[in-house]
Amino acid sequence: MNDTKIKPFTTEARSMLVISFTILILNILFYYFRFGGQQAILTASTLFPVVCSLFAVGSLVKIAFFLKTWDLTKAAWLMLAVGFLFWFLEQSTYAVYKLALGIAPVVPSVADIFWLCGIIPIFIALTLFIYGYHRTGFIIGSWLKYFFICLAISVLEIVLFYKLFMPVLYDPQINIAGKVFTLMYPVFDIFILMLAFFMVLITSLLGKGILSKPWKFLVTGFVLISVGDIIYSYYNWTGNYQTGSYLDITWNFGYLLIAVSAFYQKELMEKF
């Protein structure tokens, strides 16, 4: 960059954003009108997450390799790429179970193990982003806001403990491995949600600064995925979850927003 003017974002990231909204609208329309009956809904609800997570992993791998120097930033984006690769494998495994084998996987399945393998690098990535920001020496805003996030997460934890954890733990029909894997989803998701909210606070400090743009999409994606996962855990346990539920849209759109964030990050760096 030879002058001090910052170029505006161009077409690539915006195109990904348009694609994301198009997929979102298609997803909503498909679920609303239920084209092709139950089998078509089963196929769509299984394949939408595969496609959306593929978008996420593809764009994250692209940005991870685009960053040449080994530093905190590359490590964080690479961890995200690894995490979403496992989540793509998770969604693909579900697709094989449901569409090729015609069975509903029993917890813990291979898909659950992929999910667990994915959440760990994602947790590390978000922690690196927050740690990296903390190292910048930039202001972090009011501690009270962070305290309220922790408080809200604790309240959510207590509610989930009584509504979900206790019944699952005392259910004689679920074995130990089943209990562990059923509960790991909401437990890990709560932590991801907390980190995502911390990043929301940080991002809000950046205001309209263009450095905030990738993070805005990233945290919105994570909030959607985590909230969707937590609600799904409860609905699934109470037997209220149905294939083709609007809840699926939270994951699908969350994955797409993660992809958009990676596109914006790449474009942001190309400006310099």
């Binding site: 960059m1 190292r135 202001i139 205001g207 309209k208 450095l211 760096m269």
Partner: protein
């Protein structure tokens, strides 16, 4: 708002990147850390200030791009 010409240049460069709030806060804090103030910032101080701003931008831009921003800031004394 400072009237120091170098500080104004840096502010107008950083503001579109990190927003108004962080620009003002960061410049003030980093100037204090190198033993000066925003109003007294001079060309010599940029040698100490630019690496600090580079370090602050690494998490958003990666090391290479943050270094480019740092070099850009170094030229602001001219």
């Amino acid at each position: 708002m400072t009237k120091n010409i170098i500080a104004v240049k840096i502010e107008s460069y950083l503001m579109p990147l990190i927003g108004e709030l962080l620009t003002a806060g960061t410049l003030k804090v980093q100037c204090e850390k190198i033993g000066t103030t925003v109003d007294k910032l001079n060309a010599m101080d940029l040698q100490n200030l630019a690496p600090r701003l580079e370090q602050a931008l690494v998490i958003f831009l990666g090391g290479d791009r943050a270094r480019k921003v740092s070099r850009q800031i170094l030229t602001m004394s001219f």
